[in-house]
Point group: none
């Protein structure tokens, strides 16, 4: 079961260079940030990483996959341990909003999303990437329910959609900036709605 994973006798041949991989992914993020998706040429990425195109294509079959891998290394959201549920949610969402607006993720996520419909493998790769960013919200909500701050019986999945949706849509689809007051308003409304639904 886990034996398959352990390198029984170390793979033969020259091992892949972790340094190269890191340099390539870093270069990808940098160029994405500097030039955008279209102008971040695979050749330019190779050049900046001090690697060769072969090394890139040996690891990732297409440019899209490379970009996904680069973003997969982006930091997870960190839910604060203290504060009431609204403050925790706001702080967490703000991290996400900042990441979307101040790194190339904001520019690239739509492209990945667009490509996913045509590329099932990419869909598989993108799924956990997105899901992990949402997970902290679920944990906060679960804890709040346990503390009695929110009523039991809440659909966590739905709540995540209600919280993330407006932010993502405003950034991606509307092309507007998201600031703390907006996030607070969203969180406040969603929490209010959740409590009202339980009370009815």
């Amino acid at each position: 079961m886990n034996a398959a994973q352990q390198p029984a006798s170390r793979a033969r041949g020259r091992p892949r260079s972790q340094a190269s991989e890191d340099a390539i992914l870093d270069a990808t993020l940098e160029l994405l940030s500097d030039c955008g998706y279209r102008d971040a040429t695979v050749e330019a990425i190779a050049l900046r990483a001090g690697a060769s195109k072969s090394t890139i294509y040996r690891r990732w079959p297409t440019k899209e996959n490379l970009v996904i891998a680069a973003f997969a290394r982006s930091p997870l959201l960190h839910a604060p341990a203290r504060g009431d549920v609204c403050a925790q949610l706001s702080a967490t969402i703000e991290q996400f909003a900042r990441y979307m607006q101040e790194t190339p993720l904001g520019a690239v996520l739509p492209v990945l999303v667009a490509e996913r419909g045509r590329n099932p493998a990419l869909d598989q790769a993108l799924q956990p990437l997105v899901r992990q960013r949402r997970e902290p919200l679920g944990e906060i909500l679960t804890a709040a329910i346990a503390r009695g701050e929110l009523p039991a019986g809440i659909d966590i999945e739905l709540a995540q959609d209600l919280l993330m949706g407006p932010v993502l849509q405003r950034i991606m689809v509307m092309g507007k900036r998201v600031d703390r007051p907006f996030i607070d308003a969203v969180v406040s409304n969603v929490c209010g709605g959740l409590r009202a639904a339980a009370g009815s």
Copy 2:
């Protein structure tokens, strides 16, 4: 009305063919739907429309603009005249969700969004397209406030984000289908939140 458009002396030379324009926009939508954005080549569109590339580029400066023009012909959402605010909102959003999931818009919108960051002209063109789809929600909300179904002082813009965001995000980012129960849950929660906020 149309007199304003028509100059003193008609433009000289052969007039542009409206038939060509329609054929091109139809072919664009069809190919987008069949092959996705990337594989919907301008050349292929011209072929299917029985037009030539020059005819296309004479009207729209880039492929992106062509695609936007094609979508600009999509029907507006139609807010039902009767029912309480929740029912009206649900029905309207359902139209939108169906349109996103059963036409190529769902696949193409992210690409347009992605390209917009790099292309201000496209941004200008995309803005009203998106805004018009949201507008009916604003009208429903305004009327509900006037009827006293919702408290006054509601931020209409925010409410639109709260309603559309979860749906768009679920379809585009999560890659899941949106059905009527989900829409009802969103609408119910948002309305509950709006009322709770007023009550507090």
Copy 3:
């Protein structure tokens, strides 16, 4: 029959640029001469010709075919009108030898020859190229027979092999230079042999 060839109504669309074609073929010969076959990159040829790779590949499917086309423009051999048969043959062969040794043809012909075995289309293209260079020898021999300088009944094809073979082999296979005395010796031997065969 010949109607198929005549441009009844001129091919539609923008015609191919003869200037581009000439520039490309010239650049090919120049680069071949400067850098050899391997280093005469298609990209470099396009650059020097002020053309694009697309334009090159639209006309010739591979680099080999491009190179053949370039050589197909090389000048034909010119048989001198006066002199006895040996002098005429020597002069003609010397033209060929000079062309082989002072232009890139000498470096490229072997590659074409090598590729031919694997590429029937290339074979078809190379055949007349080679044959035309030999033809003047046949004419000289035929005229000499008519004048009585050589006996009738000579196998012209064989005689061409006997004359060209030693020169080509010395240049291509042995990698040595061919000078006038060598050519004279070959011609003298072949003519002597042809006369001796008739006399026996």
Copy 4:
């Protein structure tokens, strides 16, 4: 004789495997024959030989040198001891023609020749290979002169060119087959020419 090769103390470390070397050279000839020079990848040769690329490149610096080494193992031509000079020459040349037409040598020689111009080391390696195949002709001619079958004062080198040239050219450049009657005609003509030159 072989003592000169063997140093005072044998080289240290694991000795090179003769079996590998043989397998590599055999695989080279086979693949050359099956696929031609270009498609006979070093990697494919290694695979078929059950060797690794390092083992190949440790012995031969480039692919060209490997190919030459493979051909260097081809059998020398064997001059028959009996018969008149024409019969001996014909028999010897026929061996060569058969070897050129029924082994990959015919396909590869032009490539080696082409590459030689750009690679002096390869030139050094190719020279003896070619020369050895011609040598038997020289011996036959020398013996014939000694026997009085051919006049003294013949330029042996030239005679070799006259004999081999037409055959090589017909096979390589013209892409035609060479049969015994053709060889006989060449030999007969050359011998006739040599005798005629002496008589004049």
